[in-house]
Symmetry: C2
Subunit: 664 residues, 2 copies
């Protein structure tokens, strides 16, 4: 022990003894690596930490059991993370250009998606940024089917679709009549619709403007139900509809399943309709918006609403979208409110669909609504009154099954398969585990009780359990998405990562097993899918595929048919790409020409990805095996530009280059 200081030596000995290092070392001495206990001791791991290592490690060449799909917040992207290893498997660009994947760096498919998802009427310029918030995996019978993923743009009120065959963004819809969006993106149980609701209401006036003094009169929230094409997964605006909501700030949403199928739920806050210091009192928003004791859980009958939307004369067409006005929504019984404790945040439906759990944020309770009670209160017209816009308010005691005191700052709730719910406590930096009621299989005597708490570091926001948003939550792991990391990681600059923590749910007590920093975007919310449900993913495209449509590209070419065609000042280059050359490899054009490169990867081997970049021309394309991509440049700068392959593809990768010669 010479060379170790006294305290470290004592700790090392104690740890080795505690976890049986010596004994294990002896019986495994034939293995060459020393015993597990000895290794743990040599690295200063406690028994708990060593157990965490073994519980979270995925060995080289083996696969994680689950994949977590996390939003990237204001990075504009989404991230796929292996569970239990917490390793970042892949970043997929959605709202923001990303050049590794060649998305929005002149490749036609990415450019088309980004351009198509940015309304020139609504935005000041073409958007190259979004704030991804709530991912929703597509479902069949309430279970993830591994086909598509959806995510909203909290900043600009948009919805994107990622195809899980190739993990690429195929569509962005810029939702009209909405500014920001927050209310989650949730797929109905058979992905008939994806729901997005607005956050900050905007004026429903012809020019989109109204003064704040006319807030109640002109501003409205929106609940948007985007119809999904069952063949392509794309949103179909023509079949979609929006429901007007009062100008409260609509917050998170969820959709019903099983017992509550056909319903949607949205929280709200600022039912005071404060506009911050523009209020008569001049108080900041966080004061003005916290005056009322109760805000309103919005209960929407989307199944009935789709019938109403399909009825002639029941909707108005506003900026290309069918809108059910607030008055029609009230008159036709599509919208009800239930009181919820002030400034709530999360609303989550249990796997069986019976319970709707609301996190209080400024209230220490989880408030648990019962769908049968809601249905009965609606049928009985058991109202405590109406809000100032005429929306009926169901009686609190008629719809709430229980309130469970959890601790400070309850936000979001997830579920397991044993009737338990798990709620994040933001202010307390903890996860609370509590039981649901008899309809979730819990004995009456044990129902609605806090059973465990575990610390999370720090400021936990959302959390996700394995398959926790589906009818088949399996209760194996929970991932805490912690907003601050403070001192959990080395200081690498003033901008700190967020922190993911893996919590083992297999025992009676929850247990933090491992953690990983998120220094590449905010993982605002996440869903966790069993890996084997992603079996539809492609290894390669058939050669000549347009990735946007999965059909043969009209710009494809083949070996022996490469060519350069000039028509006036437009030059079309039909090029094949394979290890290790571009053909043609010399392209001569004149200054001022428009040059269109149509690149066909003729590779059929998985992972034989190439890139294509033109120095000085700001172009970078990723070409997966079989893919066809076009790029267009205006050759205004004279010179010799050596285009090259940006993906290390073979021993002769460096030689995979050619010349774009722009002659004066």
């Amino acid at each position: 022990m010479r060379g170790l200081n006294g305290r470290a030596a004592l700790v090392a000995i104690a740890v080795a003894a505690l976890i049986g290092g010596t004994i294990l070392g002896r019986v495994t001495s034939g293995l060459g690596g020393g015993g597990l206990g000895e290794i743990a001791a040599s690295r200063g791991l406690t028994a708990d930490e060593a157990a965490g290592a073994l519980k979270s490690f995925v060995a080289p060449g083996k696969y994680d059991e689950y994949v977590l799909l996390a939003s990237g917040g204001h990075s504009g992207q989404v991230h796929f993370v292996g569970i239990p290893s917490l390793r970042l498997l892949k970043t997929v660009p959605v709202f923001t250009p990303e050049s590794w994947a060649g998305y929005g760096q002149k490749a036609d498919s990415g450019e088309a998606v980004l351009r198509g998802g940015s309304s020139t009427a609504k935005n000041n310029e073409q958007l190259t940024w979004g704030d991804t918030h709530h991912p929703a995996l597509s479902e069949t019978n309430g279970t993830y089917d591994g086909r598509w993923a959806y995510i909203n743009d909290r900043a600009n009120g948009r919805l994107a679709m990622i195809d899980l065959r190739d993990f690429k963004t195929k569509q962005i819809i810029d939702l009209p009549n909405m500014g920001t969006s927050h209310g989650g993106v949730f797929a109905t149980p058979n992905t008939e619709y994806v729901h997005v609701s607005s956050m900050q209401p905007v004026p429903q006036t012809p020019n989109g403007y109204a003064p704040l003094e006319q807030y109640a009169e002109h501003f409205r929230g929106m609940s948007a139900w985007i119809a999904i094409d069952p063949a392509t997964g794309r949103g179909d605006v023509a079949r979609s509809f929006q429901i007007e909501l009062p100008p409260y700030t609509q917050d998170l949403g969820d959709v019903g399943k099983k017992a509550s199928a056909g319903f949607g739920f949205i929280n709200s806050y600022n039912t005071e309709m404060s506009v911050g210091t523009a209020d008569r009192e001049g108080k900041p928003l966080e004061v003005g918006a916290a005056k009322n004791d109760y805000d309103f859980l919005h209960i929407i009958d989307w199944q009935k609403a789709q019938t109403v939307a399909a009825t002639a004369g029941k909707t108005v067409l506003r900026n290309g979208m069918r809108v059910i006005t607030l008055q029609t929504a009230i008159d036709d019984g599509l919208l009800y409110f239930a009181p919820e404790p002030r400034s709530p945040h999360g609303v989550d439906v249990s796997p069986d669909g019976n319970y709707i759990v609301v996190g209080g944020k400024l209230d220490p309770h989880a408030t648990i609504y019962d769908i049968d009670m809601i249905k009965k209160a609606i049928a009985d017209r058991n109202f405590s009154g109406r809000d100032r816009f005429g929306v009926p308010i169901l009686k609190f005691e008629a719809v709430v099954a229980a309130q469970v005191e959890l601790g400070a700052g309850p936000l979001h709730t997830q579920f397991d398969n044993k009737g338990n719910a798990f709620t994040s406590l933001f202010l307390e930096s903890a996860v609370a585990k509590f039981t649901l009621g008899p309809k979730a299989g819990v004995a009456a005597g044990n129902a609605f009780k806090l059973v465990d708490k575990v610390d999370a570091h720090y400021n936990i926001g959302h959390l996700a359990t394995t398959e926790g948003d589906t009818v088949s939550a399996d209760g194996k792991y929970l991932v805490a998405l912690n907003k601050w990391s403070i001192d959990r990681y080395p200081t690498l600059g003033t901008l700190k990562p967020q922190n993911m923590q893996l919590i083992d749910l297999s025992g009676e007590k929850m247990k933090v097993v491992a953690e990983a920093p998120v220094g590449y975007g905010e993982p605002h919310y996440a869903q966790i899918i069993k890996l084997d449900r992603l079996a539809k993913s492609l290894q390669v495209y058939p050669v000549g595929t347009d990735p946007l449509t999965f059909r043969p590209s009209t710009h494809a070419t083949a070996l022996g048919r490469q060519r350069i065609e000039r028509s006036g000042t437009t030059v079309d280059v039909y090029m094949t790409v394979m290890r290790s050359h571009f053909a043609p490899d010399v392209v001569r054009v004149k200054k001022g020409d428009t040059v269109r490169f149509h690149l066909t990867s003729v590779e059929t081997t998985a992972d034989a990805t190439h890139g294509f970049a033109i120095p000085g021309y700001n172009a970078q394309v990723s070409l997966d095996p079989g893919e066809v991509v076009s790029i267009e440049i205006k050759a205004n700068t004279v010179g010799t530009f050596s285009f090259y392959c940006t993906e290390f593809c073979s021993a002769l990768h460096l030689e995979m280059q050619g010349w774009l010669l722009v002659e004066p």
Copy 2:
């Protein structure tokens, strides 16, 4: 064992027995978590895999021992990864906008860096993309000092500097007289210069163009020595110089240290000067560039060159840069060649500076040059001839200490502190360990011998050992940067991640311990620094800091001094940002106004980061504690836009929003 199928049960029992699970389980049963062996068995880990888990795991709240700085390839960014955990700690944007960090999404500092790093003369448009290749950490006395990091843009011939106080990119220099760059970025032992060399030569003609038929006459490579300001770390073009090189394709580079201090080394290939199918024979480049048996290791005396560059009349000023012409470089003894086996790739200098190791790529050997032999051959003018441009070629046998046969496709070499070298074998997908010579402390009888090999999956490119580019390489870990991952990870679409593998160097035999996918950019090359050398990193800025200069910002404001000033159609908004409000929170402007937001974070708490986004206006800013950021928009779209904080900052984060009202 009921419930397990027969084979799984047998495996579980065998594994438990092998690693002593039962015994450990017994002695640790009081710990509540079961024994380590039992946990490993329950997760199907072999003894080796369980050892890997314990060797690579970093427990919650503890820190990695090292930080790996990896380029992100065509993502344009760099990545900081913890070692041994392989967790991605942070992505730092460099050449490509990135909105999580608010870089290039209208924030003035990022915009200024990107704009300043894109020459309008050289490029067809402002560049928003780069291909980061070779990072270089700054050094003092040949050891990393944790002050700055540099990285080149392989696509566009640029150099960027990241300040390791706040881990932000402070400067990009668009290097004139160069198209692409590849030859590494390496800091001299006291960071006097950072060296970048060109890859594909370009014409040194007034308009930058010459036909390929005049390749030998007009095209030239460049070795650029960018002088570093010792106070700020920024490149100083006025004190920098370039040395013209023949139009071969210059590849990787390194700089000398200790015994070889004052020298630089660059590999080359395509000394045949093939221009692909534009050649008379019409053969592709990979054929045309592999005709010669030998290419040329470039040996540059940079210490002498800086004196020459400072001598009146010895340089020409070309596009703002002092250039030492090829003829002057030859005449003044600044440039020598040594033959190296055909199409080499890596060149790496050993920690003591005595040996320069070249990987053959198409040759199974590492070729090891000796700096004393090089110096003697230069002094003796021991030339085998001159190339067609007149550069003296040192005799191969006069400068080579040894060739060691390693296997198929040797590329890059790293070092430990025991006289060993580690070379990646691309074609064999392996790492070879071999001994250097007596000057590295190896007994003569053991010198220059292959001693071990370990498999890497798959297609290893670069590799990095802990502090392996410095005089104080410590031989603890090696990270293999594998180009393909093929089947190592679940199929998440057609674009697959690359693969990092952690190899333990502590024993006689190398051992793969863990691996992690890289699905966020290509980690082309990496350096590994001890964490404690990064101690200069800031937690927060002093309130009111301009992050570009680290000085008080002229746009800063303070609590109580917030204001909106109008001058004609320009509106300046001096806003403070703190939990949980923006002040002012309502900004009224007219359509057509230019609006400049000057945001001061008055936070002093580490990790109290805020964001500021304007929906529809494509603006997203990250405000670290104390930081001042300005953004400018042209308010052309009428409407009500609720700007908001994009970083979850407190329980009232959602209420942290305000209104930009653009009146008609």
